[in-house]
């Protein structure tokens, strides 16, 4: 069970989002939201009662090991061996013929890394940024492509941890098609063709990449013009989250730069993640990155790099991600705060069962969009909304005597799933948003402001289709 303080449950998220808009700096904003949340639930010793319990959780330890040690180390090795630069030059020579193809490569990598969420954002952003920078692709465009292909692809190609997680919140007494774990996972897979927001987000991102999108919002248009005409990749007043640059300044003299230093560790990450998913049922991301880092170090040693240079490379990478790791830990803490103050539970409570059935998918989408935007987490939103909203949709469908109740619930399920993905994607306090900005070198708020208009159009289209479908076929 959970508790909430009515509208005041949203106070921590509101404080964090307002501060984010005003100061354009996530650490201050997240810290403000955490303090507000801690005071609301009566935890005044923020260090001992809030930060320590969150940071000592398995999730926080994973963040530190994965992002600070393994990913930071790998990025540092790529910088030290000149591998990223070599990759950028290879892609530029063989595939990239300008900003359009650079963006298509980013989009394709986003599709390939279908594990979704933070891992996808990190891999695509760090991989593509050097060649996109070379081709004058603005950081706003690149961070949009990275963010817009990370979580949406995870619900369209759900061969990942998502279905197993979501099914645990999807039981509805009386709905035979949701009775067992296997039924609920099958229900998740049945929903794929109706994940309209994800489909539109992926399609519009491709159209943006090939520059065939009729409209992409004033600010993104301005960013595209600015970068193509002046070569300025960021707005004049931008303050990028991460200042990590790939260049060959750090490569030891005499070390021969090869593209293998980049591709082999990358293949190790992908190969290991996919093979462990197939054989063990869930991708072992930590192992995959750990093995990739070891491979990278071993390759550098075998090709003559000394231990001192390797450690220098690792510490270069750590420095580049230390701020991002801190932001991620704070984003996790405010997610825990939002759950503790019950913001999501309050919003679902508020709606009740007064709604006409054909309005329910749209309202559930709006509700989960708002919860995920306010809390910065799609998985947290599933946890608070699915156990309340799915039974609500069952009862509303029963009350209206719907012929195709399973279909109606399937559409409601999609609207919840996609609403949460939208809110998470657009929220300035979401870990994937922060990572997309961080890995592409974009100003966080510039990224947020440029992606909201396009994502909103995709969601508008999706809500319209869900409403039409339940009106005609439920």
């Amino acid at each position: 069970m959970t508790r909430h303080w009515g509208i005041w449950s949203l106070l921590p998220a509101i404080v964090a989002i307002l501060l984010c808009w005003i100061v354009k700096e996530p650490i201050t904003a997240l810290s403000g939201g955490i303090i507000a949340g801690a005071f609301l639930i009566g935890k005044f010793n923020i260090l001992d009662d809030v930060l320590v319990p969150t940071f000592m959780s398995k999730n926080a330890a994973t963040v530190l090991i994965l992002y600070l040690w393994l990913l930071g180390g790998l990025m540092g090795m790529w910088e030290k061996t000149g591998a990223s630069k070599a990759f950028a030059e290879f892609m530029a020579k063989h595939f990239v013929r300008g900003p359009k193809t650079a963006k298509v490569v980013a989009w394709l990598l986003g599709i390939i890394f279908f594990q979704g969420g933070t891992v996808s954002a990190v891999l695509v952003g760090t991989t593509v940024r050097p060649l996109a920078d070379e081709e004058r692709v603005s950081h706003e465009e690149l961070s949009f492509i990275v963010d817009s292909t990370s979580s949406p692809i995870a619900i369209l190609l759900p061969f990942n941890a998502w279905p197993s997680y979501v099914q645990a919140f999807s039981f509805v007494g009386g709905a035979a098609w949701l009775a067992t774990e296997a039924d609920r996972i099958a229900f998740f897979f049945k929903s794929i063709p109706f994940n309209f927001y994800a489909i539109f987000a992926i399609t519009s991102t491709l159209l943006l990449s090939i520059e065939r999108l009729p409209w992409c919002g004033q600010q993104l248009n301005a960013a595209i013009r600015r970068s193509r005409e002046t070569g300025e990749l960021d707005a004049p007043d931008a303050e990028p989250v991460n200042s990590l640059h790939y260049d060959t300044d750090h490569v030891p003299s005499g070390y021969r730069i090869t593209i293998g230093d980049f591709f082999i560790p990358l293949l190790v990450v992908l190969g290991f993640a996919i093979s462990t998913y197939i054989t063990l049922g869930s991708p072992k991301v930590l192992w995959a990155f750990g093995l990739a880092l070891m491979t990278s170090i071993l390759m550098a040693f075998l090709r003559g790099m000394g231990a001192k240079d390797v450690i220098d490379g690792l510490s270069l990478g750590f420095k580049g991600v230390v701020l991002g790791s801190l932001i991620l830990l704070l984003a996790m803490t405010i997610g825990a705060m939002s759950k503790a103050t019950g913001g999501g539970a309050y919003l679902v409570d508020l709606l009740g069962s007064w709604i006409p059935f054909w309005l329910l998918p749209g309202l559930l989408a709006l509700l989960t969009m708002f919860i995920a935007f306010a809390t910065g987490t799609s998985w947290g939103t599933f946890a608070v909304s699915l156990p309340l909203a799915l039974p609500l949709s069952f009862h509303v469908g029963m009350a209206h005597g719907l012929v195709n109740l399973e279909f109606f619930m399937l559409i409601c399920f999609c609207s919840i799933l996609n609403g949460a993905v939208f809110g998470d994607q657009c929220s300035p306090i979401s870990d994937t948003t922060v990572l997309s900005a961080m890995t592409t070198g974009c100003d966080l708020m510039d990224h947020v402001k440029t992606q909201i208009p396009l994502a909103t159009v995709s969601m508008g289209g999706a809500i319209l289709l869900w409403t039409l479908l339940v009106s005609l076929f439920a």
Binding site: M1, R3, W5, W8, I22, A36, F171, D349
Partner: protein, 104 residues
């Protein structure tokens, strides 16, 4: 003093101060409303006759399982708790239902 006033009256400082003070006031004066959050698991009986569910491919024994008819965390009980502005005696309970088990 002038600098302090200027710092405090900045929009960001005002948002932070008002937000934190408001949180403090609400937390001290307003009792929370309790609602049910359900999570379902497929349960099975182990060789020793205990109920369990599978998590990370390993069985987890469910302690203190109660039938749905005698559950404490029901909408009716929570309504009473909320009306009395008190805190429920327990906040988590494993409940068995013919086709599934809830963790409320």
């Amino acid at each position: 003093m002038k600098n302090l006033f200027r710092t405090i009256t900045r929009p960001a400082s005002l948002v932070l101060i008002i937000g934190v003070l408001l949180s403090l006031y609400i937390g001290k004066t307003t009792p929370p409303t309790w609602t049910i959050e359900r999570m379902s698991v497929d349960a099975f009986k182990t060789e020793t006759g205990q109920w369990a569910y599978t998590y990370n491919k390993a069985p987890v024994i469910i302690e203190n399982l109660v039938p749905i008819d005698t559950a404490y965390l029901t909408p009716q009980n929570l309504e009473a708790v909320n009306a009395a502005k008190t805190t429920p005696a327990i906040t988590e309970e494993f409940v068995i239902q013919p086709t599934a088990i809830f963790n409320a």
